[in-house]
Symmetry: C2
């Protein structure tokens, strides 16, 4: 089962880390981009080829250190069809290296539309009498604003193909409180969403005690993280906001259960663009930044008595 696989990989690699693959052409190493501009001009194709080469380089540099990668589809969509080809090839390459792929797509719609998204990213598309994969991911992030109609559809692919979801509960950005922190009776909106997560995550548990229906909870709100950890003990937390967005190792401690498990902390820019600050080759820098993040998180967990490794 996917949730067991993820938890076991976290333990084996001693690394509750997911590397965010959010490529921005202007931040990619110049030598990569210039080579592809020379070949294909300033085109979407050159952008896509640059991203593919860069992402494969990052994956090669860190795949033995982390259980998962998380491409954020917006950064590919902005390069059109070619960009989405780069997204697709990145997912395929990551899987070929044994990594779990979290599609950060934040989709959410009425039932019939959510069904189409679910098929697109987690399931199989029916064409005549054949079935094909459009985009291949293991987990997808979903937005709860439209309620259970959305999750219900995604659950069909989750159950049929051993996939998972991370439902947005409390996001890492500055204005996340505008809707998510609204006070409803004695709770906040995000606590209501946590209840929805619990309802769905009961339906699919692994033997490691974690569900394939998890929650997105930002590292930038450590108190909420701790509260929500108690509310959703069996959900795996996908924790954005570490590094470039301001969260540190101590800020994410609350995302972990007493067993030291249950969280997957994301870093994107802090790892993939580490070369900008370190003055090293981008692969070397990404590896170094990943190792530093791993040490920082594991040290904090050990100090907090949440050692999860053997």
């Amino acid at each position: 089962m996917l949730s067991d696989k993820l938890i076991k990989m976290i333990i084996e690699k001693r690394s509750p880390i997911v590397v965010g693959l959010d490529p921005r052409l202007e931040n990619l190493p110049k030598e990569i981009v210039e080579k592809h501009f020379l070949e294909d001009g300033e085109t979407f194709k050159a952008a896509a080829e640059s991203i593919i080469e860069f992402n494969k380089g990052i994956i090669d540099a860190v795949y033995d250190l982390v259980p998962a990668v998380k491409p954020q589809i917006a950064f590919y969509e902005q390069y059109g069809l070619e960009g989405l080809r780069a997204y697709q090839e990145t997912c395929v390459y990551a899987k070929s290296k044994g990594l779990i792929v979290v599609a950060d797509i934040k989709r959410g719609d009425i039932g019939s539309t959510s069904k189409a998204y679910s098929i697109a990213h987690l399931g199989k598309t029916k064409i005549g009498n054949s079935y094909h994969s459009a985009f291949e991911a293991d987990f997808a992030t979903v937005n709860p604003y439209l309620g259970d109609d959305c999750m219900k559809e995604f659950m069909e692919e989750v159950m049929a193909y051993d996939k998972g979801l991370f439902i947005l509960v409390k996001t890492s950005n500055e204005t996340s409180g505008q809707i998510q922190d609204l006070q409803v009776d004695k709770e906040k909106v995000y606590e209501k969403v946590a209840e929805i997560v619990n309802t769905w995550n009961e339906k699919i548990y692994g033997e490691m005690g974690y569900s394939q229906i998890g929650a997105v909870v930002g590292a930038t709100y450590p108190e909420e993280l701790e509260l929500l950890r108690k509310k959703m003990p069996k959900a795996i937390f996908l924790v954005p906001g570490y590094g470039a967005q301001g969260g540190g190792a101590n800020d994410v401690l609350g995302a972990f259960n007493a067993d030291g498990l249950g969280a997957l902390v994301n870093s994107s820019r802090g790892i993939i663009f580490a070369f900008e600050k370190m003055g090293l080759h981008y692969q070397e820098a990404a590896r170094k930044a990943t190792l530093e993040m791993q040490t920082a998180i594991n040290d904090a967990l050990e100090k907090a008595g949440k050692k999860y490794w053997i």
Copy 2:
């Protein structure tokens, strides 16, 4: 300005209608799909070619009757890169026929990611020193769960390229109330979102008195529609839920202001798949269904004293 253009087209065509282009391969006319299966097999390419032919046929049949079309990107995404090529070609073809394109993408993310989505669908992507359009739409639908960080980024493209947004306020689906109807003080969550819409829509008005920042409010909740109309007098409402989802002409009346303007009612399946029930050629059926919808809505508006045409 886009909002003026839309309102003027509604008046000239006597048609506050947007045709939803939500292609499902299994519902397309058999003769189209079989022809492309014969050419390309049961492949994504055949699916895309079928969708492109069908959509162009629908657009040809209705472009003189309506101001806008609304492709729902999920139905294209499920056919992978080829499906997204069909989405792209559909947008381009609709624009070539003078139609306004509403990209139903329901995106919403942290600032830097929303920026990438905004560039992808409303703006221009920078590649080296050149600028390119990834996907070309006039309006995009956005999800407010992450708050203003998202709208702020989209607003840059709205202002720079004369584009518009429809922010999800109260959606048409059955479980929309789960989050949207939660009671906060004396208001519901969707009323809080309506306030957010008002804040943004003040920033860009046309001479016809309507803003380019509108709201999505479902036809399936007529009372909420009326309440929200009062709360957001200058917002154009994108109203899903007519027809296949259960809303009728009287249900959408509340979406219109006293001047008979301010709403754009969507029908997808009820128009594009009208041939299934009517036993006519799909183009003839789509045209007939659009005319029937136009008559039903205009009759209801006239009876309600909300005649907007001259």
